[in-house]
């Protein structure tokens, strides 16, 4: 029984680490720009495809492809923000939602058009390796993904705390007008924040492709979980997204085993609703 519980905790944390990385981008975007990025999952899908094609065509290992994916997706985030989000920053929230939902549909169908609905994954020398210690099984690619995700998140948190741009982003998230009065270039900072958010989810995609499959609608599966994590952690707290992701991963593993796999998604959606009802700011959010 103890081994089973330990195994469940490990399964949950490894999964939760991925959820955290995907959600932290979403939190950053929502906290700073106050835009709900419904197309977040589609960027995950695009980076999974990007990593896949880099491997298929040039033999680039998915983890190494991070060196390409991170800057590339940062730039993609900048471009998308400039072209689609910036024009509607002052529009009614409903229009903003339509924009990101529309973006999501366009990206899904573009992917479907170019790459069909087939499931693709990457098989590397280590993608099927499992580490066994004292009765516990740890999937090696998932372990690597976990540590890389923690690394990216740690890097992000340090960036936000120590650098000028990072502090500018945090200031903007706290109070937009005061930040403008302090001389912060609002539009440029928005672009950078969005770019970083997309770079994070892009990194998650590169880490996921050895353990999961990409197909045009894979984003939808993950983005729902990301929303739950963002709400659980607090929509303007990055540490909240990290802890929230890990919590959801572990809750999913335990509820799947002890209650029923049938209901494991239902359990965290119930948590989602309870948080919205009783603690809308989330575990770590500020009012």
């Amino acid at each position: 029984m103890f081994i089973t519980i330990a195994q469940l905790i490990i399964n949950g944390l490894l999964l939760g680490g991925m959820y955290a990385l995907i959600s932290i981008g979403l939190t950053l975007i929502f906290g700073v720009l106050e835009i709900i990025n419904f197309a977040h999952g589609e960027f995950l899908m695009l980076s999974m495809y990007g990593s896949y094609w880099l491997f298929q065509l040039y033999g680039v290992d998915p983890y190494l492809s991070l060196l390409i994916i991170l800057p590339a997706f940062f730039l993609i985030g900048l471009a998308v923000q400039r072209v689609t989000i910036q024009p509607i920053l002052n529009a009614p929230p409903l229009n903003q939602i339509f924009m990101t939902v529309g973006l999501s549909l366009v990206l899904q169908n573009v992917a479907l058009f170019f790459w069909k609905a087939d499931y693709r994954t990457v098989k590397t020398a280590y993608s099927a390796v499992t580490l066994k210690t004292s009765g516990l099984m740890i999937s090696f690619p998932r372990l690597v993904a976990f540590f890389l995700a923690m690394g990216v998140i740690a890097g992000l948190l340090i960036f936000l705390k120590r650098t000028y741009t990072g502090k500018a982003i945090r200031a903007l998230a706290q109070e937009r007008r005061a930040a403008m009065l302090m001389g912060i270039n609002v539009y440029r900072t928005y672009q950078i924040a969005f770019g970083i958010g997309i770079a994070c989810v892009g990194a998650a995609g590169a880490m996921l492709i050895p353990v999961y499959y990409v197909f045009p609608t894979v984003g939808g599966l993950f983005v729902l979980i990301a929303f739950v994590v963002v709400v659980l952690g607090g929509y303007n707290s990055l540490t909240g997204a990290l802890i929230g992701g890990l919590i959801i991963g572990v809750v999913e593993a335990f509820s799947g085993f002890f209650i029923s796999p049938h209901l494991k998604e239902a359990i965290y959606f119930v948590i989602f609703i309870l948080i919205l009802l009783f603690r809308p700011t989330g575990l770590f959010g500020r009012a």
Binding site: L112, Y119, Y212, E265
Partner: protein
Amino acid sequence: MKKGINRILMVSLVSLAICISPSAMAAETVRIGALFPFTGTLALLGNESFNGATIAADMVNDTGGLWGKKIEWVKGDGVDPKKAMTECERLISIEKLKLIFGTYSSSLSYAASEVAERNKVIYWEQGAIADPITARGFKYLFRICTKASRHGIIGADFANEVIAPKLRIDPKKMRVAIVFEDSLYGTTVGSNAANQALKLGMKVVATESYSHRTVDLSPVVMILKARNPDVIIATNYPEDGLLFWRQAKDLDLNVKAFIGTGACHSMPDWAKTFGDEGNYIFNSDDPSIGVNPKALSNKINAIRKEYQERFYKKFAHVPITNATMGFESARILFEEVLPRAGSLDPEAIRKAALSLDIPQGGTLFGFGLKFAPPEHPDAGQNVRSHSVMTQWQEQKLWVVHPANFAVRNLLLPMPTWEERRKGITRFVE
């Protein structure tokens, strides 16, 4: 004078437009609706099913078509049940079709066929296998392929009649676990497998369902490890089936036999993704997978050959089960039913379909054809349909049961993951 000329010009332009409008063109072709998930999560097999059907239409068109006219497909994209219903509505009321061919996915078929029945339009189901589809007493719905419950039932029967004796396990002590995705398809097959296993007196140690859209199946694998079954009977769609096997390997889940029930485990992607690690699992499936040619009539063997050549030429890959189901369903419609009906009139088609009586070996499936009449509880279902058991060997699927359809011998027990790594097998004779 000017007004008069303008008026004449107007009238002639409008009549010209009417003359060359699509509905006038339609008199030249036989228009049949094709309602499939052409896009979305089910698109892979939806498109493949339709591809098979197009070969049947091509073969008929190449020999003069139907009643001297070419068959023309009018596509409807049923991405999910709601969309399937609206597309069916559109095909019937706007495209004015009398015959809908589709739809691969059970939940889509169930929803859309309701629309067709209401409008007294023929719904020719080629590949959705859930039982409830033909349990509604519909008069205009026809399905040739095997019902889902058969796939589940044959899984349990196979464990009882074949696996238990071969492995020298008392069937009453055989530990069986049933795993299925929770939509109409998975639930139908899975619950039938569970019921049959219980009826046969086996020990059902787990019945777990999950959403096929999940990103993590480790809880299911963990539960199965804890319950320690001898045999797993699984009903998965492609994405969850592939994920399950991967996580079964990650978490070292070992069983003596794994029986899939179509969908995921009949796809070439299985071998493409897992290579030799996908070998030795069983898969209950529609016989269109490829039964022993000795079980088919000469005429059908010739048709099968032509179909496979044409398919490969057109689509550059070997047809999978779903494509063949699409093909044969369409071929029987075009070559046996519609000529007998004489037109696209639904009442005539109904009569023609119900009059068919094809013996065993007379269809590509190997089994015969006789539709259950409207009073029968399974109205519209081909009562002669049944499943076969196949096994992945050397990265290909082979029919291994029943004996007269079998192409190869079955291999038991399945190696453990450790044994697979070391290349060890210890099959019993």
